[in-house]
């Protein structure tokens, strides 16, 4: 167990070291969501009437942007490991699946922590949402969990792609989740088959909890939906670990 933990630490330290040197990657990961949110603000300023309550839309949209960008960056980085041969080399050198997945997850969680915090701060500032500290902290927790789940989904998807190009067919699935999650249309108004699909997207659970928080509720008011998020994350991490293989 001690060996596994130390190897997880070594993988995480290596990834963090690489992130530290790859300033462009870090800048894209952090600045890109902030820029998109700023554009959303510009669009809302033109289209939304002055009395329009923007919070039920702006916060979930921001969550979706974090979800999408985190997913795609993680998937591509891991596929790059495979195409460069470093993934195979890690296995040959004695690293196990769980050590690679958790090590990556830990390192990218640092990035997700900063990313989610900046996104929420920008949102609060741009849209003048006036959330309480408790509301803000709860929303941050939900968004952070969503970012971690998105990384795990990215890792899972990367296991089925042999090159970066093979990640792209999965992108529409993530974009589809914005429709299925209830952000645009309430889930009850979707066709029955689409409602079933909604339950498969993490954004649905995140949106349910975020809507509760926006309407002055707390995490405890919709705890069933909130609890599903870490469980969902654990399941995806498990699947990503099992499906991470040395390919022929």
């Amino acid at each position: 167990m001690k060996n596994i933990l130390s190897r997880i630490g070594v993988v995480a330290a290596r990834v963090l070291n690489q992130l530290h040197r790859d300033r462009r990657f870090v800048a894209i990961s952090i600045l890109f969501p902030l820029i998109i949110i700023y554009f959303i603000k510009l669009v809302f300023d033109v289209l939304a009437p002055p009395t329009f309550n923007i919070s039920p839309y702006a916060v979930p949209y921001a969550a979706f942007i974090v979800h999408f960008i985190t997913f795609i960056l993680t998937a591509i980085v891991l596929v790059r490991e495979r195409t460069a041969g470093t993934m195979a080399q890690m296995f040959v050198c004695g690293y196990q699946q769980i050590e690679i997945i958790i090590g990556y997850l830990l390192a990218y969680t640092v990035l997700a922590t900063v990313q989610s915090l900046l996104v929420l701060l920008e949102l609060n500032w741009l849209f003048d949402l006036g959330f309480s500290v408790a509301q803000f902290a709860s929303m941050y927790l939900v968004m952070w969990l969503l970012a971690v789940i998105s990384m795990a989904i990215g890792m899972l998807v990367s296991n089925f792609a042999r090159n970066e190009g093979q990640v792209f067919p999965f992108i529409p699935l993530v974009i589809l989740s914005v429709i299925l999650s209830g952000i645009i249309v309430p889930v009850e108004k979707l066709p029955e088959w689409a409602q079933v699909m909604s339950y498969l997207t993490p954004l649905y659970y995140a949106n349910e909890v975020l809507q509760e928080l926006i309407s002055d509720g707390s995490l405890l008011d919709n705890w069933q939906m909130f609890v599903i998020l870490p469980i969902y994350g654990l399941i995806v991490v498990g699947l990503a670990t099992i499906s991470l293989r040395e390919k022929d």
Binding site: N3, R7, V10, R14, N17, Q18, R21, D22, A84, G85, T86, A88, Q89, M90, F91, V92, C93, G94, Y95, E246, D248
Partner: protein, 293 residues
């Protein structure tokens, strides 16, 4: 079963869909040997190495490495082997030292950092140890990759074309080091395109389209082939083609009665390259005939 064998391969087949990468390969590699794998691109050299290191599962047949099965006992096997891939698999944004430390961490032995510095010195990168790998030439990356494979004192070393892009002086020192390692009991399996290097091996396997064409010491391979002997008698030249000339030449001279007019004997021995090419061409011809039938 050979007790002193480090690697035993029996009836090994590896198919990728319809493509037969390895066909009924049988090998036994003795402990402390440098064993060469020679063959053209696509011959199955890398596939054989990947089967042995447990990176790919054989379709049929059995593999044993130091008493372990590399497919079902991967963890045990990987602590005992070092692998240098054909294309260096390194993190370009990390330094040489960081790459070596990362890849050798799971099986570290003894004074880890001292050992890393030792292998860095051996591959001649001490001055560049803390430079990022993307600044390195292809040959320097090969050297980092070799260092990664050596840190944990492996009992079996797999080297997939280890000296590509390495200058002749360093290549010479690599082979000297490989020889030193075998004297300490390390078994080395090396794939190469370079015939000159193949002569450094204790034993040589020639692979073509997944089939093992020969498994012998390189000198024996050469002797088996024909040598052209030119006997110059005054202004006349008589040519004789003989197989295994060290045995055949005395017989020939006895037959000729050692004519005092013979003033010069020239032997044109086939090179390893021509021997290998001939074997491959014969195998290709055989495959074409089988295909036509």
């Amino acid at each position: 079963m050979n007790e002193s064998a480090s690697i035993i391969v029996q009836n090994l087949d590896k198919f990728f869909g319809k493509q037969k990468a390895l066909k009924n390969v049988n090998l036994s590699i003795t402990k402390g040997q440098i064993y060469g794998l020679l063959g053209p691109n696509g011959a199955g050299k890398t596939t054989l190495i990947r089967c042995l290191i447990g990176a790919t599962k054989p379709t049929k047949g059995s593999l044993m490495m130091l008493g372990f099965n590399p497919t079902s006992q991967k963890t045990q096997v990987r602590g005992l082997i070092g692998y240098m891939p054909q294309t260096p698999a390194l993190y370009e944004d990390l330094t040489a030292f960081e790459n070596i430390r990362f890849f050798s961490y799971p099986h570290q032995k003894g004074n880890f950092f001292q050992r890393i510095n030792e292998v860095i010195e051996f591959v001649g990168l001490t001055k560049r140890a803390h430079d990022q790998v993307y600044k390195f030439s292809g040959g320097m990356k090969q050297r980092v990759s070799l260092a990664c494979a050596l840190v944990h004192y492996p009992q079996i070393l797999f080297l997939d074309e280890p000296t590509t892009g390495i200058d002749p002086k360093l290549r010479e020192s690599f082979w000297q080091h490989f020889r030193d390692l075998t004297q300490q009991g390390t078994t080395i399996l090396v794939s190469t395109h370079q015939m000159g290097e193949a002569m450094y091996c204790d034993r040589l396997a020639i692979l073509h389209e997944g089939t093992l064409l020969a498994d012998e010491p390189p000198r024996q391979l050469l002797w088996k082939q024909q040598a052209k002997i030119k006997l110059r008698r005054n202004n006349m030249v008589a040519e004789k083609l003989v197989s295994h000339y060290p045995d055949q030449l005395p017989k020939l001279l006895h037959k000729l009665g050692l004519d005092p007019a013979i003033n010069r004997i020239e032997i044109e021995e086939e090179t390893l390259e021509s021997v290998v090419l001939k074997m491959i061409n014969e195998h290709e011809k055989k495959l074409n005939q089988e295909g036509a039938q």
